[in-house]
Symmetry: C2
């Protein structure tokens, strides 16, 4: 049996686990739910039991496993292997997740934050597999990010890098949940996109959205595609913030590709074209920039692939 | 004789050259003027003649030189060793500077852009010598930048990284020389700081600056320190843009130190305190950020030191 690498993506609603061969082909995967009230011990138990079951299902044993990579919602302390806090797992405070899994499975374990792991997944096998420098944005309730520079994840001092949703683009603008004013996230996250639409409706804007009781980001994109003026303004506002982020990231780490992921990209080319138009509007005219803006291609598997890639990287002989 | 590393800083008004030992102690330095009308051949001749004279002055020969690092105003193509263009040397267009110096001196030559080289100087021996992740800003006519992530210069795809003056902080704001709207440079460069003061005076603002015929950035800082209200507003505007850059860079590459260099830092603690206050105003309140904002310490020598460090890095055995 060839060596296996395990990639684990720990989230607030479920744990995804994948087993990969040394070329990072997926051999098998599984998932199990997490619940808000679970203790760290319970979560680790669920991770390890499901990992062992997956390995058994693919007719392997723990002896075949070379290393395990696990991605966690942040903030995390990567050097110490700690989850400092996890927004959707309130009992997690300074949990030594890496060591707990080592103690249970007796295998090398690498911890990474979830956005970096998904970024590395897209870098390794997804939308950015052909480049050396990329930036990754996850568009969800908030906006997460990851940066790869010359093939390496940019962690920064004390793992502070890549809080890309909190780049300030309108210093006197909307208040962000983080306490700053004018973060990109305060305009372009799914939550902020919905909030801007609701505020406009409450202020009396006419729109086909007014017939919907509990507006979602998906509704806004669907109504914009159908030609509703307000919905279109709202999605253009989202794209404008994302286009500005692309300009600012191009001028910072100089990516060859910027990859957007997350539920919102289901809006498809409609959204991508709006982001590209906003980038083209804001970027300097002096030269054609060698930057491609695109959507992620690995979907829900980006995390397990990226974590398996981390596990593989941690084994120098592979 | 121990091995020597030569650091050369090519600028629009002069060429600085330093000779360093393998611990990067400076053994000797020299400089020679450049003129706007000089051809690439004339500049290379001047570089090489002065380098050879310096080496002779320190009782060494070219045989003692292990490698040469040279920093050039950009844009440069580092892989090919080309100066694509140089704002203050108009005859420079796609000049193969690296190869021309190799041909003349028959030594390994590394090319870097000038801001990255100065950044590496401060990283190696200056204000950021004790950290692994830094961001560097040069405040001059424009705003240049450099980023070091986990000990390595961030170059980006096609050397496009670290155009940090062109991060957009006010998307509907002042037009920058680059064609974008609202770049930090359009507020905080020496040129923009003076322009904002002149515009305010033309609009009728009262100020002790109105008595000066040709206002400089230095005048503005001096009058601000003396309590002039307009001058203070202008310097606060400059510091606000720089504080926003610090927030955005912290959220991007996660530096431990942000180092400001350039003529403007002669304004001293007055300016540094204003930048820190602007950072404190804009940064999220959720945690104390482990970031130090400070001024460069190497002055005019940062470039030659950084280029010598590059030369040393290029020799694996040193």
């Amino acid at each position: 049996m060839a060596k296996l690498f395990i990639g684990i993506d720990l989230g607030g609603t479920n744990i995804k686990i994948g087993a990969f061969d040394s070329d990072l082909n997926i051999i098998g995967k599984t998932s199990a739910p997490t619940e808000n009230a679970m203790s760290p011990d319970d979560v680790v138990k669920r991770i390890c039991e499901n990992t062992e079951a997956l390995i058994k299902n693919i007719s392997s044993t723990l002896d075949d496993v070379a290393a395990i990579g696990i991605g966690s919602p942040g903030p995390v302390n990567l050097e110490q292997g700690l989850i400092v806090a996890a927004p959707n797992l309130p009992l997690f405070r300074n949990v030594p997740l890496r060591q707990m899994i080592v103690d249970s499975l007796n295998k090398p374990v690498i911890l990474e934050n979830d956005a970096n792991a998904a970024c590395l997944g897209e870098f390794t096998l997804g939308a950015a597999k052909d480049v050396n420098d990329m930036v990754f944005f996850t568009l969800g309730t908030g906006i997460g990010g990851g940066i790869i520079s010359n093939g390496r994840i940019v962690h920064g001092h004390k793992d502070a890098a890549a809080e890309l949703g909190h780049i300030i683009i309108h210093p006197t603008g909307r208040l962000c949940g983080c306490g700053q004013k004018g973060c990109a996230e305060a305009y372009a996250s799914a939550k902020s996109t919905v909030a801007r639409a609701k505020e406009a409706l409450e202020a009396g804007a006419e729109s086909s959205l007014s017939e919907i009781k509990d507006i979602t980001c998906k509704d806004i994109y669907n109504h914009a595609k159908a030609g509703d003026k307000l919905a279109l303004e709202i999605t253009e506002g989202t794209a404008d913030a994302l286009g500005l982020l692309c300009v600012n990231m191009l001028h910072t780490t100089g990516p060859e590709k910027i990859v957007f992921a997350g539920g919102v990209i289901a809006a498809g080319d409609f959204l991508l074209n709006q982001i590209q138009a906003a980038f083209d509007k804001h970027i300097w005219p002096m030269k054609k920039e060698p930057l491609e803006i695109c959507f992620a291609t690995l979907g829900q598997d980006a995390g397990i692939i990226g974590n398996a890639a981390l596990a593989k990287q941690s084994c120098p002989t592979n």
